[in-house]
Amino acid sequence: MIELKYPYDEKSIRALKAGDAVSITGIIHTGRDKFHKYFADGGKINVDFKDGALFHCGPVVVKNDGEWKVVAAGPTTSVRENPYEPKFIADSGVRIIIGKGGMDKATLEAMRKYGCVYIQAVGGAAAVSAASVKRVQGVDFLDEFGAAEACWHFEVEGFRGVVAMDANGTSLFERIESLSREKYINIVNKSR
């Protein structure tokens, strides 16, 4: 397992290869549909994404004795952000995008150009992901977007995932998909 520590510098990000298992320690910010739309519409946020990480996640967060506590934090499907992500990568300098299901060619190209990777978190593994969040630093857009869509700032320790799209233009999803389609054709033509 490869350890990644905040700030996620360009060199170590570019060294990652599709298929690498990684463990992340440091700051990650959540953001999904409303977050992306807000930026696309020219909105601003007081958060520095340079050498940072963005997590497509709709967490369940509760307030306990005045402190935020993350109950569940699994990834949400990333394709919905395809239209926004290349520009977000270019403008923000983000290095890591965490989500589920991968993203499109334009995003892969932006990752190659600006030095960013896509990390597939273990889908649905809400309890483990939540346990790796050691502290909630804060939250933006809580009232505007609602808790599940707000931009939460998490301090994580040992957050696990797999590099599914690297900064060299390789997408593991693409590779597995074309292999599986070939196998499918072989199987259905062979059987009975």
Binding site: G19, G101, Q120, G124, G146, R160, I176, R181
Partner: protein
């Protein structure tokens, strides 16, 4: 214990703990995957996740899904909609359920997960009068529900005709198309035949079956086995990142059809296959 509390406990346990057969199947799959592979790491994380969620009574997955109750019709009065709604409300307050129910017209969230038709309740005839009356709950997330599909044979794009080979083509096509979505490894519930609505209903009901069983019909039992094997040879793997485990099980039923229709319906269930039965 009051009935409301029993249903509340059922929701808590369903949300935070996988059925034993599913957890065992994931464990066996993890042992089969290559050392240091991403597949092994993912399955290991899933197992740790299950242990942690059970220990803390927190949701296994943040998408606590659509709640569907199958209630023995003898319990129609005792486990009525009011009781189930009340238990659902309490479960939401206690954090066993995420606020996960949205009005389809104005997009507003129902804060207690209770609305007209939510949760879904089916009253079912019991198989034998001597059996104890039970309530079964299944929780199915959106990511997995989105991957359910219905094919209509013949399907010219797949080259699938109106025979069992055509049926197999549809089922395997669904597996290929689901990759990357719907958190693999998953389970397929399949209905061959029926009309569109019963197709989905019967397919979903297959997801209630224990992973260890096989169809009573020998032809279907054989299909269940071979399709599972073929699907797992596609190399899609956990989360679609490659590996030996794409499916944990395939459960198939068949229903008669009218001469003009031939549907193949596939209900996809992700690894977070939350189902549980209690005797009331």
């Amino acid at each position: 214990m009051k009935t409301v509390d029993k249903i509340l406990a059922l929701i808590r346990d369903t949300s935070s703990s996988l059925p034993e057969d599913v957890e065992k199947a994931i464990l066996a799959a993890m042992r089969r995957e290559e050392k240091h592979s991403s597949a092994k790491m993912i399955l290991k994380t899933i197992i740790e996740n299950c242990e942690l969620a059970r220990k803390n009574s927190t949701p296994l997955c943040q998408d606590t899904g659509t709640l569907t109750f199958f209630v023995d019709s003898r319990l129609r009065n005792k486990v009525n909609r009011k009781v189930i709604s009340e238990a659902t409300r309490l479960a939401t307050v206690k954090g066993y359920l995420r606020k996960n129910c949205i009005d389809s017209l104005d997009g507003k969230s129902y804060d207690d997960n209770v609305a007209e038709g939510a949760p879904v309740i089916h009253y079912v005839e019991s198989e034998s009068k001597d059996s104890k009356p039970t309530v079964t709950l299944i929780m199915k997330g959106g990511g997995s529900e989105n991957m359910s599909r219905q094919y209509s044979l013949p399907d010219s794009t797949l080259g699938a005709g109106r025979d069992l080979k055509g049926v197999e083509k549809c089922i395997l096509d669904a597996v290929v198309k689901t990759q990357g979505y719907g958190c693999a490894p998953g389970i397929l519930g399949v209905c061959i035949g029926g009309d569109r609505a019963t197709g989905y209903e019967i397919a979903k009901e297959q997801l209630l079956r224990n992973l260890g069983d096989s169809s009573k019909d020998s032809c279907l039992a054989k299909m269940e086995k071979t399709i599972l094997k073929k699907a797992n040879s596609l190399g899609i793997g956990p989360m679609g990142l490659g590996g030996k485990t794409t499916l944990l099980g395939v459960k198939i039923a068949s229903r008669p059809r009218v001469p003009a229709s031939f549907f193949v319906t596939i209900a996809y269930m992700c690894w977070a296959a939350r189902r549980r039965t209690v005797v009331i």
